[in-house]
Amino acid sequence: MTSSEESQSQKRLRVLLVEDEPDDAELTLHELERAGYSCEAERVETPEAFQAALAAGEWSVILADFGLPRFSAPAALNLLQKSGRDIPFIIVSGSIGEGPAVKAMKAGAHDFFAKGKLGRLGAAVEREIRECLVRRERQEALAQLRSAEERYRLVVENVREYAIFMLAPDGNVKSWNRGAERLTGYTEHEIVGAPFSAFFSEEERQDGRPEEALQTARDQGSQIAEGFRRRRDGSLFWAECTLDRIGGKGELVGFSAVLHDITERKRLLDDLRHAVRARDEFLSIASHELRTPLTSMGLQLQSLAALERSHAHLRLSDEKIAKKLATVSRQAERLTVLIENLLDVTRITSGRIQLRREDVDLGALVNTVVSRMREWSVRSGCEVSVVAEEGLVGSWDRLRLETAVTNLLSNAIKYGAGKPVDIAVEAAGTDARVRVRDCGIGISTDEQERIFQRFERAVPEHHYGGFGIGLWLVRQVVETHGGSISVESRTGEGSTFTISLPRRIEGP
């Protein structure tokens, strides 16, 4: 035995024989063993036994006699094909002519051998087994391709916020799927064949955007644009729209289109831009506000210095000097309050607001604030009156509450148009309430929500003093106490701000 024959002798073969003659079967197996196969065989001669054998195990090859008393090669081939299995099927027979043999081959038998001329059987079996293996591999690859396609289809259909579909070269919708339907509301039946412009807003359609997009994709291979796109129900969403040309310029096959709903992303971006703008505006207002008291302060001090140099101060009355100093000291106070407010903003923004609770008499606190601001209110021509329930004590942070009431009162005076301001302090169930009412310029309904935001104000920037943080600060202080703030107002008729504070800390 040569080494190649030795290695061939290793080849194991499971052979299913459809044969009624044991001797013929023996001969066939002998031929295979001669060709180097080590055979494990089963011989059947009825359809039932054939089917049982097929079901019972894996077979390398089926060798079938053409005609048996109760069975035949064509019948066996038929049964094999019905079972859906791909096993090399070779007819080994002595008693048929060319006609039936060709017919059987056409039906799917892989080869034909005449008994007694089995010399090439081994080679034929080897070839058929190899080809069968190739067939199986191809089928597996096909199955994998189909499953990859199925996965891809599922991705395309199930991806949220995306519509991915195809356009024909003329820009009409060619293919559609459930994902695209979910995003746009169009069913396949409604949209296939419709122009790409169906997804554009009326305005963009009139501007010729759809044609422009297709033209760009046609010329440059790809086009990406952002804009409003239209759903079936007419509602608009902000989309990033990508068109890619399929095929070369000469042989355009169509376009792939991706609509990505980025409404939420755009909203976040817009919010962010707004916040940045508000901050810049705030910084500009802050510098304006800080310069105002500095102006009076500087002028007073420089005028005192000038008087000193010219010895004019000797003729100056004590009263006048005292007045100048009072102005200076008032400006220092204004600066202190402005800076305190600024610091409060950064403290609260970074979550560092910590309440120092103590027993506080709310009526007394309000009266203190009012008397502290008396000079300013008188100078502004606002008469401030307080009606306070006595002994309304709660567990609050005194300084923060003073800040809140000061801000409410200074707003009432600032926007109060010189008319009277009323403050009421009263109990309301387990809450205590402070109501500050002015009869000034008021706030339109549109503006009422906005005024509690940081750096926002109802009136145009700069025309009124202040940072635009007063009410935001009040709200933060009140809410940190577990309370709430509300506003009632009409343009030109004044505003009423009410803060409600729980008198005791709730919960453990």
Binding site: H288, G298, Q300
Partner: protein, 132 residues
């Protein structure tokens, strides 16, 4: 609004200070009065127009950001009224980018707050001629 001085009382040079901040108003009135000027004041553009019906100052010292009527709005109205259009205006404001903001206002001078006393007196002196 403080009472405008009567023309026939004395022949002092007069200035109208227009600013919404009461402390600035009072301070400027004080330092200009100390320097020998006759000073009146108004809290916004509208009050200034009202004051100008009764009194023609030699100079208007004008803030920009004010409620009711801003300095810019006031200046537009002033220039439209021939009787008062000729009164020079010095803008005194804490606004950022003051030159840009006052580009169309034809102001005689710009003073950025906080302003130095010497600069204030120089600007006022430059645009007011003592009356003969």
């Amino acid at each position: 609004m403080s009472a405008p001085p009567r023309r026939d009382e004395r022949q002092k040079v007069s200035v109208l200070v227009v600013d919404d901040d009461v402390d600035i108003r009072e301070t400027v009135i004080e330092v200009l009065a100390d320097a020998g000027y006759e000073v009146a004041s108004a809290g916004n553009g509208a009050e200034a127009l009202e004051a100008l019906r009764a009194f023609a100052p030699d100079l208007i010292l004008l803030d920009l950001s004010m409620p009711v009527m801003s300095g810019e709005q006031f200046r537009t109205r002033q220039l439209r009224e021939p009787k008062i259009a000729g009164i020079p205006v010095v803008v005194m404001s804490a606004a950022a980018r003051l030159e840009e903001k006052t580009a169309g206002m034809k102001a005689s001078a710009l003073l950025a707050k906080p302003v130095k006393l010497t600069d204030l007196l120089a600007a006022v002196g430059q645009f007011t001629q003592p009356r003969v």
